[in-house]
Every structure is written in C-alpha cells, then in structure tokens.
C-alpha cells in the first residue's frame, strides 16, 4: 500500500508543479505575507519611536516608557497571523479546485479506480500532497518571522506555535476545498465552493446578535477564527488542534465518500 500511495503522491506532485498555478500561488503568497509582515513591523517600530520620543513627554507619556502590551507579539505576530490566514483562504482554493475535479472531467478517475486502488488511498495521496503544498507555502513565508524571532529574542516556541496554527488551519481549509473538488467535475464549481464554505465558517460574529446566547456560543465554537487566534500568541491548545484536525479528517472522509458514491450513480 505504501508503494502505491507513494506512486500516486509523486504523480500528484508532478501534476501540481507541471501547471503554473502552483508557482503563481507560491510567489503571490510569499510576496503578500512578506509585504504585510513588513508593514506591521514598520508600524510597530513607529509606535516604539512615538513612545520613546522626547517630544511626547508633554503630551502625557512618560519618556522612554513603552506599555507592556506594546510588544512584537501583539503588534506584529498577531495581526500578521490574521493576514496570513486570510491569504491562505484566498490562495488555497486555486490549488484544491483541480485535484479531484480535473481527474473526473478527464475521465482518468476511471483509470485509477479500476487499477485496484482503494478510494481512501486515492484521497489520502491527493490530500497528503496538498497538505505538503500548504507546508511549502508556510515555509516560504516563515523567513521574515524567523528573522524577527531571532533578532527580538522572542523565543523559538512563538514561531513554532504561530506556524503550527497556520499549518493546522491551512490543512483544514485545503481539506474543505478538496472535498468540494471531489464532488464535482467542474473546477469552477469546486473553486466557488472552496471559497464559499471556509468564508462562511470563518467567523459568525455577524450572526451573534440575531441568535440566542447558546446558539451564538455554539457558532463561536464552530468558527475557524475562534480557534486560530491563540496560536499567534504562542499558545498551542489541544482543543484547537483537535478542531482543525477534525475538519481536516472530515474533508478527507467526504472525499472518500464522494469516490465511493460515484460508483452507485
């Protein structure tokens, strides 16, 4: 089984990097995360400058005193993580839309599913390669935060927490996109659903005033953002890990179910 999975994964990788989409997505994501991270860093430096500036002493600040909440974690890492998460939401459906839908549209799913491969193996290889691509995206964008962690003496654990969160969140979003791709032969439909579902799941704050307290609490638990924030503050909580792993597993199960259901059409 491992050999078959590896063969299928290599085929997926070859197909992923045979199209320009993978390179465009990598470049755009790394560029955007770099620009926005730099912007937060510049803002933080300006804030530090303001607090430490002599000219502001008369305005009520104590010269040279920077409030404890103004730190690199709160001013750079937390807003950057929010931006990075949004960028992942924008770029990942561009990668996931093709994975199953193209196979179905070209009829090559018939080749795979009559060659003795189990549907769960097909889904496992396709999901695995997409998660690897998420890892590549994150690795490309980790350079700037890594430099800041080293220079600011923050502690490596903050970087690990931030990127663990992003990896879990990215895999969950990718898994939703892959499940959408598995249920259609149209890449456009897969992309639209791959955008719509994570965007709806992102945050239910807009609904909280119109539903009961208990329903609002439930919606908070379901929302992606509620589980994403703490990672940027350097905290890895098991319940958030379980939440993202659960969504990822559900996406994979939905992909397997779609392949099985297509037999009974």
């Amino acid at each position: 089984m491992i050999r078959r999975l590896w063969a299928l994964a290599r085929k997926e990788l070859r197909q992923l990097f045979a199209s320009p989409i993978a390179y465009v997505v990598l470049t755009v994501y790394v560029a955007l995360t770099g620009i926005y991270f730099f912007q937060h860093l510049v803002s933080y430096n300006q804030l530090l400058f303001v607090y430490q500036s002599e000219g502001l002493t008369a305005g009520g600040f104590d010269q040279g005193t920077v409030p404890s909440q103004i730190n690199v974690l709160n001013e750079v890492f937390v807003p950057s993580a929010d931006d990075f998460g949004l960028f992942l939401l924008v770029v990942l459906p561009l990668v996931t839309m093709r994975v199953f839908a193209e196979e179905r549209a070209n009829g090559t799913d018939e080749l795979l599913l009559t060659s003795g491969l189990r549907p769960f193996e097909v889904a496992l290889a396709k999901h695995g390669v997409t998660y690897f691509f998420v890892l590549l995206l994150l690795a490309g964008s980790a350079i700037y935060p890594a430099v800041v962690v080293l220079r600011a003496g923050l502690g490596f654990e903050h970087l690990v927490a931030l990127y663990s969160g992003q990896l879990l969140y990215g895999c969950a979003v990718a898994s939703i996109g892959l499940a959408c791709s598995a249920f259609t032969s149209s890449q456009i439909v897969a992309a639209v659903l791959g955008y719509a579902i994570p965007f709806v799941l992102l945050d239910f704050a807009w609904l909280s005033n119109t539903v009961s307290e208990s329903a609002a609490a439930l919606l908070r638990e379901v929302a992606l953002l509620s589980h994403y924030g703490s990672f940027a503050r350097g905290v890895i909580e098991l319940r958030h890990v379980v939440y993202f792993a659960g969504i990822t597993a559900l996406g994979w199960l939905a992909s397997v179910a779609s392949l099985e259901l297509s037999r009974a059409r």
Partner: protein, 243 residues
C-alpha cells in the same frame, strides 16, 4: 493464465432509465468474447460493472467465482482495462506513465522494469516511449492504454472500443496486436466494428436496450451469413436507444 467470467442477472438503472436489464452471460477462460450492439445498448455499462467502476443495481459478476460487488479489489487485481477514448495523463511521458501504472499494480524493481519493457515491446511503443502522451496520435494513445492494461499480466483483459477514430492502417495494426492476446488472457472486446468482432472473437453477444439480443459462436455466425446480418435481423438499421 485466464479466468472464467459469470454475469448473473446484472442490472443497472440510472433513475428511470434501464441501462442494463437482467443480463446473464458466461465467458470461458481464455475466450475472446465480443460485445456488440447499438449506442446505449449497455456494453460500456456492463464493462464498468465488471471492472468495479460502477456498482450494479442488481445481480453480480464473478471472475473465477470472486464477486465484483463484494470483493472488487481482488477482481481488479486480476483484470486489465483499456477504456474507450483512452483516458490517460496527457502531461506524462509514455515510460513515466507505464512506470506509474505498474507501481499502482504493485510491481517494483526488476519486475516492474521487465513488465514495462515487455509491454512497450508487445505494443510497439519503442518509437514514442519518451514522448508525452498528449502529443501522440490516437493510434499510439490506444496502444499506451493497452500497454498499461497488460502490465500485471491480468487474467482478464477488457478492451472498450479500441479502434474507434483510428485510420485503417492503425485499425489493422491494433487488430493484429489484439489477436496476439488470444490464448494469454480472457479478452472481452466491446466494439462497434462488426468486422472486427468477426475477425477476433470466439463468441459474440449482441446487446440491445440493455438486454442480450443474441449470442453466437464464430462458427454459428459464419454458417448463418455474417455478423452484420445478425445485427440487422435483431436490432434493425435505424435503431438508437436512449443512453
């Protein structure tokens, strides 16, 4: 190395459309068996059920007694399938694709290389082995589809419309290749080319509207005239059924 196939009252419905209606067939080990019929007769539906790609709405197909419904992976391990209008990875080179398919079939190392070399040789793919599938002619794409189907030396070889869209020279060449499979596998050949079925098959089943309209051996066909006459007698000349 071949296998016996038994189809027992196999049916397939798509909503209210009956694509296959209680079809029963027995195909002996080593036989070259032809499936003919008009469009929408149920030929491809039967093949897709046999290969485990679709689930039968009723009935079952058994390969050497192994049920496709219950143990499709065991059946698929003994089966090679070259589908209609070959569905291949156009961005793969022929050799890369065959290596990939051989790996999916569980081959590795020297056995894999040997199987790929043999398939390339048997299908005459040497001139195009390093080319991308997307740039190949239809004839060579058909050969690649057949090559991947025989990599693991299957007991049953299922070939759906192998010569459709090919020029006469390619058709003749492909028929020669198909004739070479006789005696090595149980071959199920689904075709619109009546002449092809006459030339290659030991027995032919004529399907019409999802039902078995006629079943005849090569000798019976020859003694009764031709397959064309049988077709016209059973199906008619202006027949088309809904898919």
């Amino acid at each position: 190395m071949s296998a016996k196939i038994e189809a027992q009252r196999v049916g397939k419905r798509f909503g209210s459309v009956v694509a296959l209606d209680s079809l029963s067939l027995e195909i002996s080990a080593g036989e070259v068996f032809g499936l003919i019929g008009p469009n929408g007769a149920g030929k491809t539906t039967f093949i897709r059920i046999l290969t485990g790609y679709w689930l039968a709405s009723e009935g079952d197909v058994r390969v050497d007694g192994v049920s496709v419904t219950r143990q499709r992976f065991r059946v698929q391990a003994r089966l090679g399938y070259a589908c209609e209008q070959p569905k291949l990875y156009a961005d793969h080179r022929v050799d890369t694709f065959l290596h990939f398919m051989a790996e999916l079939r569980g081959l590795s190392g020297a056995r894999l290389r040997g199987a790929v070399d043999l398939a390339v040789q048997r299908l005459g793919l040497e001139p195009v082995v390093r080319r991308h599938i997307g740039v190949l002619s239809k004839g060579f794409r058909q050969r690649v589809a057949l090559a991947q189907a025989i990599l693991h030396e299957p007991a049953v070889l299922v070939v759906d419309e192998p010569t459709v869209g090919l020029d006469p020279a390619q058709q003749i060449e492909l028929r020669r290749i198909l004739a070479g499979f006789k005696g090595q596998h149980t071959v199920i050949l689904c075709t619109h080319q009546l002449h092809e079925a006459e030339l290659l098959c030991d027995r032919v089943a004529l399907l019409d509207a999802g039902r078995l309209a006629a079943l005849a051996t090569a000798d019976e066909i020859k003694s009764g005239g031709s397959l064309e006459e049988l077709f016209l007698a059973k199906v008619g000349s202006h027949h088309e059924t809904a898919p």
